[in-house]
């Protein structure tokens, strides 16, 4: 039996070898696909085993590699936290790799898939290394390796200019975030012992660095916003809805399901491990931004009709929910209430796992839909459930989970989050007592809006009738794609119905980070989830599921007691005749009431124009409705920044005036100035 760390390192090596070997096969594309993704699936299995056993064992082991700076080799370390995240990444990585075998084949013939194969493996390796690395240098290297490879994956279909633009925005924001992280490490290392001989860069040294006060806050802020840029926290989310649709769907699944999680890992590592116990406003900041991201994310998602863009905005929402857990945990920690912190942390981390699963599932499903219909625009879809008998139910599972409906996994983590919200009255600060419940209400709003959004998604994409102008031949996807989705769907159900098993295993994380273990049974048997006390609140997914099934069975029996015929007929629809498929509600009309209620948050341009033979008449031949919903933050933040920098660029350009006398004058004036002032 290998040690967990060995397993993880082995999987990284396998991935690197696969990406190195891929170009050699580039002449035989089919074999290339099979080989690469089989290899990455195998590597994921190794890593999964490693992560799981590390999480189960609860101990930390570390190793020092030979590469790196001479005085700063790469330090790798595997403790429960990183083990958990490795497990998350690997689990999703496995499913997505299986899925990719079928998905990537569809590119063959249209373009070379070699870059996709190479960078896919590099991307996986980068993510695993981020989670393993134990010093600032190797962390940054693997962090940027991850960013670079994912950037190249995003502009895989590089003929489309918007893909290139998306990739650019993504890379820019990611890199700025990386620099911020680097600076925060710089502060920690600078305060640690042995900065000048580079040994201060190890996380161990940072842990022991007695950084405190303003510097600690500065380090936290730098690091947090650095990671937030990667996680897509509002207002740093602008890249996310651009990059995810641009990337191939298997990559979007990984980026959204796994890569964002590495940012969460970074935040957890920074605020619970490297930095000393936080000031309460750190947690307050995280909580607030989490709430804003959750709400804004879901609202923007509701406004979308591009399937993958919509899902991308939901990633913003779910990252927000995860941050809520983290933020509450930090607040509780700052008031020295480790047990409650443990609950909040577990809630956040469990949602991390769940989100990886259902968002991976949903992105893979969208990939399947894209593969089948060749489009991402929901307005042109409908009725796919008749053509895709496998994809539809699997996608439905994803929808139910992300909408936080029992008995699936999304609900469990949101329920735990609510429970930790309900603990806030014990906080000694009146202000927090009053403010935090409002946060709970916002979370509730988010949950229901998400449900509304996914009624829209499933209803418009899979139900109803085909909305497209011309019929396209839609077909079910191949076995490997179904298998990939099926695995994640199974995970969603399992994590939803038997949450306690996983949560018990995750107990080693608060044990390691906060020094307390969480008892989620409170004396009840394993089927019960009672995080605080049996009297306070309890939830049992298995019983709920059984109960519902029993009730359904009973209802079925009752309903079928008397034999009645079933016949098909045109929809009645209040006797409305000549229903065409274009009269159905579509994504835009579905979200109209919500758009009207929350309209003030968006910049909406709505227009209706009569056209046709006599537009002026009361019954125009044609009526065109146009709607453009834009991200306000884009105009508050990004555009001004760009404008300012181009203005400055023009000013800088003026320096290069072209006249040699002017240049000589510069040098002359510089000389005089230095002589006078220096």
């Amino acid at each position: 039996m290998q040690s967990p760390l060995d397993l993880s390192i082995a999987s990284v090596i396998v991935l690197l070898c696969a990406s190195a070997a891929a170009p050699l096969l580039s002449s035989k594309q089919k074999h290339l696909v099979t080989f690469t993704f089989a290899a990455s699936a195998f590597a994921s299995l190794l890593a999964f085993a490693g992560g799981l056993s590390a999480l189960y064992g609860g101990a930390a082991e570390s190793v020092k590699l030979l590469i790196g700076l001479p005085d700063l080799p790469f330090y790798l370390r595997l403790d429960p936290l990183s083990g958990f995240f490795i497990m998350v990444v690997a689990a999703l990585g496995f499913c997505v790799s299986i899925y990719s075998i079928g998905y990537v084949r569809s590119f063959i013939g249209r373009r070379s898939v070699t870059p996709l194969a190479v960078f896919y493996c590099l991307f996986m390796a980068g993510m695993l290394l981020v989670l393993l690395s134990d010093d600032a240098y190797s962390f940054m290297v693997s962090w940027e390796l991850m960013a670079l490879s994912s950037f190249l994956l995003v502009c895989f279909e590089d003929e489309r200019p918007q893909n290139r633009k998306a990739a650019f925005i993504y890379l820019l924001i990611a890199h700025i975030g990386a620099i911020l992280i680097l600076l925060s490490f710089g502060l920690l290392a600078g305060n640690a012992a042995g900065f000048t001989d580079f040994s201060g860069y190890t996380f161990q040294a940072m842990r022991e660095s007695g950084i405190s006060g303003g510097w600690a806050s500065a380090a936290f802020l730098l690091g947090f916003f650095g990671f937030a840029a990667k996680a897509g926290v509002v207002p740093l989310h602008a890249w996310l809805p651009e990059a995810h649709p641009a990337a191939p769907s298997n990559v979007s699944a990984l980026m959204s399901g796994a890569m964002l999680k590495t940012a969460v890992y970074g935040m957890a590592r920074l605020s619970f491990d490297l930095l000393p116990v936080s000031a309460w406003w750190w947690g307050g900041l995280v909580l607030t931004l989490g709430l804003i991201s959750a709400l804004m994310g879901v609202l923007y998602a509701l406004m979308q009709h591009d399937l993958k863009r919509l899902l991308a905005y939901h990633s913003v929402e779910n990252i927000g929910i995860i941050l809520i857990g983290l933020g509450l945990a930090m607040i509780f920690t700052s008031f020295n209430m480790p047990l409650m912190a443990a609950l909040a942390l577990t809630a956040g981390l469990y949602h991390t796992l769940n989100h990886a699963m259902f968002k991976g599932l949903l992105f893979m499903g969208s990939g399947a839909v894209l593969h089948a219909t060749g489009q991402r625009n929901m307005e042109g879809m409908g009725g796919l459930i008749h053509r895709m008998p496998w994809t539809a139910p699997l996608f439905l599972v994803g929808c139910l989970s992300i909408s936080a409906l029992p008995p699936l996994n999304g609900f469990v983590s949101e329920w735990l989050t609510f429970q930790s919200f309900l603990l806030s009255p014990v906080l000694p600060s009146r202000l927090l007592n009053i403010l935090i419940p409002l946060g709970a209400a916002m979370l509730a709003l988010t949950g229901v809006l998400a449900a509304a959004c996914f009624v829209k998604v499933f209803g418009v994409v899979f139900l109803g009738r085909w909305r497209g102008r011309h019929k396209t031949e839609v077909h079910e996807v191949g076995w490997s794609m179904r298998a990939g989705m099926g695995l994640t769907a199974f995970a969603c159900i399992a994590l939803g119905v038997f949450p306690t098993l996983m949560i018990d295993m995750m107990n080693s994380i608060p044990g390691a980070m906060l020094g307390v273990k969480l008892d989620v049974h409170r004396g009840l048997s394993w089927i019960w989830l009672a995080p605080v006390s049996a009297e306070r609140a309890s939830y049992s997914a298995p019983i709920a599921l059984l109960g519902i099934c029993a009730a359904i069975a009973a209802a079925y029996i009752v309903a079928h007691a008397r034999k009645t015929a079933v016949r098909r007929a045109p929809a009645w629809d209040c006797g409305f005749e000549k229903m065409t498929s274009r009269m159905q509600y579509n994504a835009t009309s579905f979200s109209m009431p919500i758009r009207r209620i929350f309209g003030f948050l968006f910049s909406i341009k709505e227009g209706a124009r009569a056209s046709g033979k006599h537009p002026s008449a009361f019954f125009p031949g044609k009526y065109t409705y146009t709607l453009r919903v834009r991200d306000r933050l884009w105009y508050f933040f990004y555009k001004p920044a760009a404008d300012v920098s181009f203005w400055l660029a023009r000013k800088a350009g003026k320096l290069q005036h072209g006249r040699i006398q002017i240049y000589l004058l510069y040098s002359f004036v510089t000389l005089i100035a230095l002589l006078v002032f220096a």
């Binding site: 023009r650 003026k654 320096l655 290069q656 040699i660 006398q661 000589l664 002359f668």
Partner: protein, 221 residues
């Protein structure tokens, strides 16, 4: 002759050199520029020789000879030939009007005196007081390059700067070590050839030596 006498001669020469560089600033005709430049070179070599004699440093004779051959004979001749061959318009055109240039020049002299005062305090050489003049010459050469429009005049300004440097070397430090002197001389010689080539290139590509033609490379608006 006595050291003090040598010092007096040297300061006279310094005054003349300064005068020469002002002359370069005011002179409107190119041949006139050449003459003044040659005179300045001559004064330099004399002062070098005088210093060398008075301080008994024989390598200064060599540098004096170098100066004589380069700056009094070779360079002016080359420039003369070039100007003649390229039929350069005889008038000097300036960017800044002459009187203004004069005023700036005077300001520069004052500035360089103020700057070198603390240094000359420290020196024990007889010629130390001339350091200010050397610096002033350099600054005036630079000023000339800034305020002139033609390539030729810029070159002359450049060479005037070199004169200032040389003067600084001799007066402030009794001359640099011989290796350096030779190297510098060599560089100046190469530079001379290069700008010779340049004049032809510029002439052939722009058919004028006016620097106005060479303001294309800039950041477009």
């Amino acid at each position: 002759m006595t050291v003090s006498f040598a010092a007096q001669i040297n300061s006279v020469l310094a005054a003349l050199i300064l005068l020469a560089s002002f002359g370069l600033l005011v002179q409107r005709r190119i041949y006139g520029l050449l003459h003044i430049f040659a005179w300045q070179g001559l004064l330099l070599s004399i002062s070098a020789a005088v210093v060398g004699y008075s301080a008994g440093l024989h390598h200064l004779y060599i540098s004096a000879a170098l100066t004589l051959s380069l700056k009094v004979i070779a360079l002016p001749y080359i420039l003369y030939v070039l100007i003649h061959r390229l039929k350069i318009h005889r008038e000097v055109e300036e960017v800044v009007r002459i009187p203004t240039t004069m005023l700036i020049g005077i300001a520069l002299v004052v500035f360089s005196y103020h700057l070198t005062a603390p240094i000359t305090e420290l020196s024990d050489l007889v010629t130390r007081s001339t350091l200010a003049v050397a610096l002033a010459t350099i600054m005036l050469g630079l000023l000339m390059m800034i305020t002139r429009k033609k390539a030729v005049t810029q070159i002359i300004g450049f060479l005037a700067m070199e004169n200032g440097l040389f003067f600084a070397a001799t007066s402030a430090t009794y001359g640099m070590p011989l290796v350096v002197e030779l190297g510098v001389a060599l560089d100046i010689l190469i530079a001379a050839f290069i700008f010779g080539i340049f004049f032809f290139q510029i002439r052939t590509t722009f058919d004028t030596l006016d620097l106005k033609a060479m303001e294309r490379l800039k950041e477009e608006e």
